[in-house]
Symmetry: C2
Subunit: 230 residues, 2 copies
């Protein structure tokens, strides 16, 4: 670490270097990081500075430390997103919700063809059960919100695109905060979700796409324009 002409704080620098180390070494969940002593030597910083960097990762749920054993990578979780978005993002910023909803609509409509092709009969059955519950649930209830979320999760869960999957989950986590704060407008009617599943049961892509567009033109999604092309 070049300390002669450094301008940035050491703990910020250390954090990025450790993150880079994890990426470069392709460390997987369950793998252990070097000990604090080793990392201090590798980065050329004191133990305090190193811990400020490493404990940042632990606070975020990326790693877990245990005395006597060491520090290991965790399975990635959106928990830290949830915790922080609650406190810092969801405060008097009404347009952020629009941006979240718009991005969800854009992504799901853009990837729906791949989703359609990936869906197995088993998942379609689960989707059917989900939508049936949705139709008998109280609209705008917490239960309805959860079922809508499950509906979206099921639609894309077999699509083999980890990045998209994580991104959709992150969007969901963020929207959840708005819902808790009572600022989430109504979701589309259950009937529109039902039409999507009916198209899946008939394995009719045209009908599926049509139903998806209808779904995403109602409720909270209504005013979110998306550029769509042929």
């Amino acid at each position: 670490m070049d300390r002669a002409n450094r301008t940035e704080k050491l703990y910020l620098q250390a954090f990025r270097e450790i993150r880079q180390y994890i990426v470069d070494e392709n460390l997987q969940p369950g793998d252990t990081l070097p000990t604090e002593q080793q990392l201090c030597q590798k980065l050329g910083v004191s133990r305090n500075v190193l811990r400020e960097a490493i404990k940042s990762m632990e606070v975020m749920g990326l790693i877990e430390a245990c005395p006597g054993r060491g520090t290991e990578l965790c399975e990635f979780s959106y928990e830290f997103l949830l915790q922080n978005v609650i406190c810092f993002a969801g405060r008097d910023q009404s347009r952020r919700l629009d941006e979240l909803v718009n991005l969800q609509k854009t992504l799901e409509l853009s990837y729906m063809r791949q989703a359609f092709q990936s869906l197995s009969p088993e998942t379609v059955k689960e989707l059917r059960a989900c939508v049936n519950s949705l139709q008998s649930a109280e609209p705008a209830s917490l239960q309805a919100f959860e079922l809508h979320h499950r509906f979206h999760t099921l639609l894309f869960r077999e699509l083999d695109n980890r990045l998209l999957h994580d991104l959709l989950s992150a969007l969901d986590v963020m929207q959840r905060q708005y819902h808790k704060a009572g600022r989430l407008p109504a979701l589309p009617e259950a009937e529109l979700a039902d039409a999507v599943v009916r198209a899946l049961e008939e394995y009719n892509y045209q009908a599926f796409a049509q139903a998806m567009f209808s779904y995403f033109s109602n409720g909270i999604f209504e005013k979110q324009d998306v550029l769509v092309y042929e």
Copy 2:
């Protein structure tokens, strides 16, 4: 193995308490936190523990500390969160680049109409200068890579969508890492970027959209299918 009975680590506890303090006091961006000493006393922990908690917030971009002045809240940004989602979430190296490129293509084509409408003559001039440099740069060089990214940044920088902006920026960060590792295939030819800017100079959306599609059908983007609709 009894984790229930184990007392929680102090730095995790301190982190949550400080966050709660921010919410309770309704602190806004620009407001200052109590000094380290005051917080130590308030929470009843040592300075080291307190710093491990507070520096976690700074690493996440939630606060900023300055010697002699104190610590203040920052404007919330998704950038850090998204970068870490991308860094830690999908670690399958081989597919990740495809997913990154595909997502960039999807987002830029989906939001290009809004981008077109938002662009000012000043930015178009900067785009022109950027593309001119690109045409005289050595293809596949580091300079060409940087100019391509500047091209994309300029296209969307006036679009008033913070979330999209942060996401594109996070994708850029990740692609940079692939480029450093020499794993980034060739970008589209400079001529295709030039056609985009020519359409902007003529304020012709049809030509712009056409040029964008051509750009995103070449080089690294070639094999990335995107669902497009009418």
